[in-house]
């Protein structure tokens, strides 16, 4: 692989945000968005590891039809806690709160987010919510499923539901505050010349994500609060025995929790939209379409929630409407995939690790997205709803999509965040391992679903065993794929080669400052006079001078 042969020897900048002050207080009381990103990185890595351990136990348990490891109660707790840890405390904050926090001010040329103290407060709120949930896990666990369907959660479950839902309620405010902060920052903090249509697509994606944070999260917060009240005071909002309506709970729950899927995938799409033009060294194909598709996903995403409820007994008319609307939200996602693919055309493509993740993302997201069409299809949903098909589908979106995006982004910006390079060969190995392991784990689950294996089963009829064993085998490969980056990232902080300000090189503003950036981000306020992802007119990148472009800059051949 013939990249990076004669990199000039860089030295670390003298002053940067990591050495601007020392001591635990300087981290826990920091208002620097870059350090807060590290705090979040610690938090989400913890919950990812926790959720990963639960997942590993689930897969080992399912090796044999009668279950290998644990009792039914424990199994139910494992998948519930896996879901809660992964969704509310890893996936939702992962890209926005880590990469978004670090990058949004840098990308738009600001010194910080609009409300730095609020930003720190968000982290503490997140940790507080996390503590409640960990308390629930430790004292009695949680066995309601991450969906908290009533009246199971509000009446029948014997586990620690109340602290868990209160933890998620609290955590919601972290999302809300982050959303407000990002939206305001993107509106008011842009550097001179950074017009809306010069914004990196990562910013557009986060703007769209903020819309969901702001307008969706409050609903789940109040809903879970009602569940807690119902459970503690024996009220009847969602309990049919007291006149309440369990389907109303599902409406309220999915009003947020379906758009929440877009909270997970939109930022990942933003990451991919940065990586692909950088490693193809050309402007992204159809910038406005990708930007607009982010916004339309965020908006249309709010009109589709009841496709989770086709078989609850909602009215046929509602089911028809929600199915139709669900198909509409697929279009902007398709537009993105086509545009990314088209961007590769006549590019100058390198095989660096972030690019491997990006291409892996396209493949996995494609499968995840297309199988979403199966589930939105009313006639198929009556068969595959609540089977392993659903499990496979959303893991393709959330693990194949969101986590590939998250890891791709971490690899892409790691040199900016730490100033160091990770070992490239190892990183490529990890990327490929992840891709293979992922497909082995979740590919068989599609077949399990088609064969009729329902989800959340701690044991199963013997005809499902072969595929379950295959899936568990894949999971062990997947686990190696996750452990590798944890190891070499940690190693690289200390021993990695110094990266220099712009190792790839990339065109974004964040690459025009030092790596790691100074505490104030930029020594002088940057003025933007170039279009996004423009390699041709960027003499400062030192590219393309010796090699003439292959063809005139025109669009349609």
């Amino acid at each position: 692989m013939a990249t990076t042969t004669t990199a000039p020897a860089y030295t670390m900048p003298r002053d940067h945000y990591l050495n601007s002050s020392y001591g635990i207080r300087s981290w826990l009381l920091t208002t620097d968005h870059k350090r807060i990103a590290w705090l979040y990185l610690a938090g989400v890595t913890f919950f990812f590891t926790l959720g990963g351990i639960f997942a590993a136990m689930i897969r080992i348990h399912l090796l044999v039809p009668n279950g290998l490891l644990v009792s039914p109660e424990t199994y139910n707790k494992l998948f519930t806690m896996h879901g809660v840890a992964m969704i509310f405390f890893f996936l939702i904050p992962s890209i926005p709160a880590v990469l978004g926090n670090f990058l949004i001010p840098l990308m738009i040329g600001a010194k910080d987010v609009a409300f730095p103290k609020l930003n720190l407060l968000s982290w503490y709120v997140y940790i507080t919510g996390g503590c409640f949930v960990l308390y629930a896990f430790a004292t009695g666990g949680l066995d309601t499923g991450w969906t908290f369907y009533t009246p199971l959660s509000s009446v029948y479950s014997n586990s620690a539901v109340a602290p868990a839902v209160i933890g998620i309620f609290i955590n919601g405010f972290s999302s809300i505050l982050t959303g407000i902060n990002f939206a305001v920052t993107i509106h008011t903090m842009r550097a001179p010349g950074m017009t809306w249509f010069r914004l990196p697509l990562f910013i557009w994606a986060h703007y769209a994500t903020s819309i969901i944070f702001i307008l969706g999260t409050p609903v789940i917060a109040i809903t879970l609060l009602l569940v807690a009240l119902e459970r503690v005071f024996h009220l009847g909002f969602f309990n049919p025995a007291l006149g309440g309506d369990p389907i109303l709970f599902q409406h309220l729950f999915w009003f947020y929790s379906h758009p929440a899927v877009y909270i997970m995938i939109l930022p990942a799409m933003g990451v991919i939209s940065e990586i692909i033009p950088t490693f193809a060294r050309k402007p992204i194909f159809g910038y406005t379409f990708i930007a607009a598709s982010s916004i339309s996903i965020a908006v249309i995403g709010f009109f589709v929630w009841a496709h989770h409820m086709f078989l609850t007994g909602e009215s046929t008319y509602a089911a028809l409407a929600f199915s139709l609307l669900s198909y509409l939200v697929a279009i902007p996602s398709a537009v993105k995939v086509f545009n990314w693919t088209a961007t590769l055309y006549k590019g100058s493509i390198s095989y660096d690790t972030p690019m491997l993740y990006a291409l892996g993302f396209i493949g996995l997201f494609l499968i995840g997205g297309l199988t979403g069409l199966f589930l939105a299809c009313l006639g198929l949903d009556i068969n595959i709803h609540d089977t392993y098909f659903v499990i496979a589908h959303f893991h393709y979106i959330m693990v194949g999509g969101a986590i590939m995006g998250y890891l791709g982004g971490l690899h892409f910006w790691w040199p900016k965040i730490t100033g160091k390079l990770y070992p490239e060969f190892l990183a490529r190995v990890a990327a490929i391992t992840l891709f293979v392991g992922f497909n082995l784990t979740f590919g068989p689950q599609f077949l399990l679903g088609l064969m009729g294996m329902p989800r959340r089963y701690h044991n199963y009829p013997p005809e499902f065993q072969v595929l379950n064993v295959l899936s568990t085998a894949g999971a062990s490969i997947l686990a190696i794929g996750y452990l590798l980056p944890m190891v070499y990232f940690t190693w690289s902080v200390r021993y990695g080669k110094v990266a220099g300000p712009n190792p790839w090189p990339a065109t974004g503003l964040e690459w025009s400052t030092d790596s790691p950036p100074p505490a104030e981000n930029f020594d002088v306020t940057p003025v933007v006079d170039w279009e996004p992802y423009d390699y041709k007119n960027r003499a400062d990148l030192g590219l393309g001078t010796s090699v003439a472009p292959l063809a005139p800059a025109h669009g349609d051949d």
Partner: protein, 103 residues
């Protein structure tokens, strides 16, 4: 930014709005004691909500200065209300159309 110079609303307008709000409050309390449902089923609640919306609009537009605010502010208000409407009406749509089913 489209944030233009601040518009100071005079106390006279405030007093006027306040008076209107008082009148509307008394009106809605009185309207509830009249059987409007006799004319049209559900008219009572419709009248109550229309009056409430008038009052809320007055507060938003004048007390909260939305009338004089930047487009961006108006957009946020519209979004908030619109999203609430999505939630209310799509959910109520499910409930309302259940009785249309032919079994």
């Amino acid at each position: 930014m489209s944030e233009h110079a601040e518009h100071v609303v005079s106390p006279k307008i405030y007093l006027l709005i306040f008076a209107a709000l008082m009148v509307l409050t008394v009106t809605t309390a009185w309207a509830a004691t009249v059987d409007l449902n006799a004319y049209f089923m559900g008219l009572n609640i419709i009248v109550a909500l229309v009056i409430a919306t008038c009052k809320a609009s007055l507060v938003v537009l004048f007390f909260m200065h939305a009338y004089y605010s930047a487009k961006r502010t108006k957009l946020i208000i519209i979004c908030g209300v619109f999203w609430l409407a999505i939630m209310l009406f799509l959910t109520m749509g499910d409930y309302a159309t259940r009785s249309w089913e032919v079994h």
